[in-house]
């Protein structure tokens, strides 16, 4: 039987941490949207594929993240940051931006968010 959350501080803290993580990711996306507002990158027609010509057309900082995901197949922001040598929070922002642009998909498994190219 499921324990009420209030009686187990460890579970409660875990839930609070998860919520904070999600909130943090949403904030990172929000920051990226603010940064790129002029470019209006939330496009009406979502692109179909993250092919090499599309990779060439991306700004340098997003290309690096996108190529890394192509190489890894499926990865968390942490794993991408190990390859690019940039901060996890930075990669999380770029990955979420690529999701918004329609190039990547995001899937949540427990506390981890995985990013991948839908083939």
């Amino acid at each position: 039987m499921k324990k009420p959350l209030g009686r187990n501080p460890a579970i409660l803290l875990e839930k609070i941490k998860e919520s904070l993580d999600r909130l943090n990711e949403k904030m990172e996306v929000f920051i990226e949207i603010q940064k790129g507002k002029k470019q209006d990158f939330v496009m009406q027609d979502l692109p179909e594929a993250l092919d090499v010509m599309t990779l060439l057309s991306l700004p340098d900082h997003l290309r690096k993240t996108a190529v890394t995901i192509c190489k890894l197949g499926r990865a968390t922001a942490e794993e991408v940051s190990e390859h690019t040598k940039r901060a996890r929070a930075v990669e999380s922002g770029y990955l979420n931006q690529l999701v918004l642009m329609g190039y990547l998909k995001k899937e949540r498994k427990g506390r981890k968010a995985y990013f991948f190219v839908e083939k």
Partner: protein, 258 residues
Amino acid sequence: MGKIIAIHSYKGGTGKTLLSVNLAAAYAKMGKKVCLLDMDFRAPSLQSIFELNGSDYWLNDYLNGACEINKVLLDYTPRCECNGTMLVGLANPTTEALRDMSAKDRKWEMRALGRLLSLKNSLLNDMELDYLLFDTSPGLQYSSINAIVSADVVIVVSTIDASDIQGTKRMTHELYDLFEKKTGILMNKVPIEFLSTPLERDSVSKRFENTHTLPVLKIIPCFCDVLRAGGTKIFARDEPNHPFTQHLREIAAEIEKF
């Protein structure tokens, strides 16, 4: 862990295929395990150079997801007279296949990139190859850029033709740099009178390096007997003492250090 090398150029006819074939043979002669893939789906040429009958599966089939890479590879080792291993993957040269490959959409090209990227695992990790060489199509083609993105090192072959030099310079800034690739230049078919003394050779090399802002790995003179052979002879195998073969060994060593 082995290396993936893409051999590319801005223009056609620079000598990419001849250098790819001979570089692969030079590595195999040095005892390395090497695989050469024909990534020029617009004008496949490895089948005629190696005089192979083809296989049940082509590289086209691998990229289509119709088979695994081991079904495509042909073992050229017995005919290579080498201490190492030499595998070859052919592109389908039939008109129907050329037409089919030129009509692929962006989604297919994206999946093809994924298949090429996974060769690092299947060929370098699992089969423990030392070198995987991609002989590419010139210019900005999907298949060439896919090969460049999948490679660790890009070798750009250029002649002294002014349009070739300008095009190579543009590609350096608009392609190789954007993918942060280790890139080196091979100047090919350079007239021998430009290289008659070591001083002249150095000055030519510096001039090209300043133009390209990339290291010039080797300046290869124009060898009439290499041209005369019409691509039918593998010099690294058949003419071990030829100066062209000596150049190839030096290029192989340069790439190893690269």
